[in-house]
Amino acid sequence: MTFAEPNSAATQSLLDPAFLKALRSQMLAFARLQLNDDQLAEDAVQEALAGALKNAEAFNRQAALKTWVFAILKNKITDALRQRYRDQEHVLAEEEACKNGEALDDELFNQKGHWHAEERPQAWNAPQKMVHDRQFWAVFDACLNHLPEKQARVFMMREFLELTSDEICDSASLTVSNLHVLLYRARLQLRECLENNWFAGTASGTTGVS
């Protein structure tokens, strides 16, 4: 493949095998987490990279190129998710919301709906400082991966792809109240997981997630 301006830094970046390999694996990690399907993830990443190569000359900084490549990837993932939801029955979401929710409910709240003493949320120590801690992100990743599939998907659509409730309901064939239940469960569980595995006790403790 030839480029009009081979001297563009971004073009050079995409032609650099080490950079390309690293970028590709980062993109794959993102895509897999959301699509939960290796083949679909590969396809989305491939398409996003192909699109990026076509227009790489427009970017003269590596960081700008990355931002843009990930923006393309987000779109591809959104499309893939829409397609998938269109193809499948949405009854599953309601089942999962109920089944999973009740178990978690009993674990966290007593019969009056108040926190069990040992489950009461503790104050988190400086969560904004954690963004520089690689171990924290390993725990965060593991907690995200532990969410039930449907919860994880709508949570990522809401918080990662930053779609509105209406957009998610539309593409995932969910009612708004159903979506809110799924998002609530996801947040309850993610919060619980982060507190148990990171914020409680020693910050640099185990990375094992239960």
Partner: protein, 79 residues
């Protein structure tokens, strides 16, 4: 009838996705005044959102610690 923690946490989550009504807000505030656990939960809803923003932000060279950043992490193996 007083709101319990289950209802309060559900409302706090929904507050991330829609505007709560005035009466929902009033009841929630009232519950939060008396419940430290739910006050922590409330702060953490905000923390989760900003952590997700950080997680979603494509990596750049300035911050090597994030997942998917330049100098590699558990996912990438650039060498």
């Amino acid at each position: 009838m007083m709101m319990n923690c289950r209802e309060a946490t559900r409302l706090m989550s929904e507050g991330q996705d829609r505007k709560l009504t005035l009466s929902e807000n009033v009841e929630l505030k009232f519950h939060l005044m008396m419940c430290k656990g739910c006050r922590n939960f409330s702060d953490q809803m905000g923390s989760l959102r900003s952590l997700m923003k950080e997680y979603a932000r494509p990596a750049d060279a300035e911050d090597p610690s994030k997942p998917g950043s330049d100098s590699g992490d558990s996912h990438s193996n650039p060498k």
